[in-house]
Symmetry: C2
């Protein structure tokens, strides 16, 4: 009792957490605000007191997800302080774990697919956050002593993005099964130059 996990959390945070989970599992257009609030143990009015609209909730969810991703990056630095190459390998390992444990891919990429309107407010945010992640991977590659850091980072980035979407369309036995092999091969190849 008084576990402090689900009871004392503010409705806004419960909504945000639940929405992230449900958007991830069922897609943005696949879940309504009613379902979110019910699963969060609250109601629609409370949601609209904390978020201007569903679009606003979507954006806040994407930001929160990006925040969690950033925390994972920080964990690499904490685990292998200063050893950028080890951090790069940790990135590959973490990516393959995600491929193994979750078949719904990247929230931002999925959102970009679902929200096809070019002027949708979430698209700006998606682009921002994705570019930030790209820059972080480029820096990691560069500091790991790779010559063509941008090219390696972009290649790894596309490989992972492709693996996550392929996982959804072809399944776990598809091309994504070879992700680690491909990524490690690439890193070795770029290091050798």
């Amino acid at each position: 009792m008084a576990d402090g996990i689900s009871e004392r959390v503010r409705p806004r945070d419960r909504i945000l957490e639940t929405a992230q989970d449900m958007f991830h599992k069922h897609g943005i257009k696949g879940v309504g605000v009613d379902a979110i609030t019910e699963a969060a143990g609250t109601n629609k009015m409370t949601l609209y007191r904390h978020f201007e609209s569903k679009d606003d909730l979507i954006i806040e969810c994407l930001r929160a997800t990006a925040c969690k991703a950033a925390a994972i990056w920080d964990a690499f630095e904490a685990e292998y302080p200063g050893d950028k190459l080890a951090q790069l390998h940790a990135w590959v390992r973490k990516a393959s774990e995600m491929l193994a444990n979750d078949s719904r891919g990247c929230d931002m990429a999925n959102a970009a697919v679902e929200l096809s309107e070019t002027n949708h407010p979430a698209r700006r945010v998606i682009k921002e956050l994705k570019e930030a992640q790209r820059e972080r991977l480029v820096n990691l590659c560069r500091e790991a002593g790779v010559g063509q850091a941008e090219l390696l980072a972009d290649t790894l980035s596309l490989l992972l993005e492709g693996a996550r979407v392929s996982l959804q369309s072809v399944g776990a036995e598809g091309p994504s099964a070879q992700f680690v092999r491909m990524a490690e091969g690439l890193i070795a190849s770029f290091k050798a130059r």
Copy 2:
């Protein structure tokens, strides 16, 4: 006059063509059957006389799209008969053209993202068609004289898939801009072994 393109085409084919286009541009859940039939110059009743349901229409659209893709593959064989390596390079060129001219990615991958329900009837079809394309690319790589044909084919496959989804989330200046360079580098690298 009597151009025979839009006038004499049967309603079913107009619906199928229009639905492909609209699903591609706006996503599956982003367009309703009313909008499709209106754009196709017909009405909802006629649609439901030719297709059991919207899900059925979706599936037929995916099959039709796969058919068009298969025709593109056939064009490679027609253009470079017997020269499998040239056909592989043509595949890369064609892929980069698609990346340049269309920012909405692969219909099947997008559909897999949107239709998150694991039992959705379209998912079987998506998997089938994607596996067929994978096999075709593997064969092309093998017959082009590549040692690890499966690995190269899967890597190229993930790269393209990633480029198409990255194009939607980050834009044309993102990692997808380097697709040709990556793909050609990979092919050269695999050929060299």
